[in-house]
Assembly symmetry: C2
Homo-oligomer: 147 residues x 2
């Protein structure tokens, strides 16, 4: 369709362009993953626990727009590796609160820094306006993702 002047990769309109860029970045992130470490999702969850404190399974699954069952699995990888623990909610015993262990907190920080290293390097090489453009686009696209 409309081949706009922005160097269209594969998709037709802006939607296709966004989709294609996101898919490419996502794969790139995955390939940049240090060996022997946790998966992308598990690490995101760990980071979230570290930053926002203990949360229930449904809180986590809602945030990631994932079925509770999927999140249960992801969290299992964390708990069985000793990076997170379950605690029954004293007020409502159907609920389970997940929180990081000290090792989990440490890993969250270390792994995240390492993983963002190459990305940050590239981003810092851009002009401040370009960085600002990306920051703004993240907000806009984040809103769409949450809609």
């Amino acid at each position: 369709m409309e081949t706009d002047a922005t160097g269209t990769p594969d998709g037709a309109g802006l939607g296709g362009q966004v989709r294609s860029t996101v898919a490419r970045l996502y794969r790139r992130f995955r390939s940049e993953r240090p060996e022997g470490s946790l998966g992308d999702t598990a690490l995101e969850v760990l980071t979230r626990l570290h930053k926002h404190g203990p949360q229930t399974l449904t809180q986590l699954s809602d945030h990631d727009r994932v079925a509770p069952a999927s999140m249960s699995q992801s969290v299992n990888r964390l708990t069985s590796a000793g990076y997170a623990i379950r605690t029954p909610d004293p007020n409502d015993r159907r609920k389970v609160l997940f929180s990081t262990t000290p090792q989990g907190a440490e890993l969250a920080h270390a792994a995240r820094t390492q993983r963002n290293a190459w990305l940050d390097a590239h981003l810092h090489a851009l002009s401040p306006e370009d960085q600002n453009t990306i920051a703004r686009a993240c907000v806009l696209l984040g809103n769409i993702a949450d809609s």
Copy 2:
């Protein structure tokens, strides 16, 4: 605001923000997928074949930054579903050219349109300025992904 990536105070640095946004969008795309249809990767490959004509396995895997073996699997899903076919390259018989069948071409167009529908709807609701911001960010991030 967050101007730092290594010792982030509250929010993540720009790198973390980008990573998080991309992951969320990616999951959202996946969840928006109509049932019984092909996966995201397979569909991207099919679209690419449809737009750029027959290609070899390595061309496809290079483009998606994926191991050849992974791409082999993906195209297997396409061929066994009747959406693509293999043709031996007459010039170099180590190579195999993949191309879409008529049904594949049809599906590529239909599915892609359907998949971009909600995304395009949201994007068109933004101001032209914001759309431009996103387009620019896509180019910038696309370059980083390809680096």
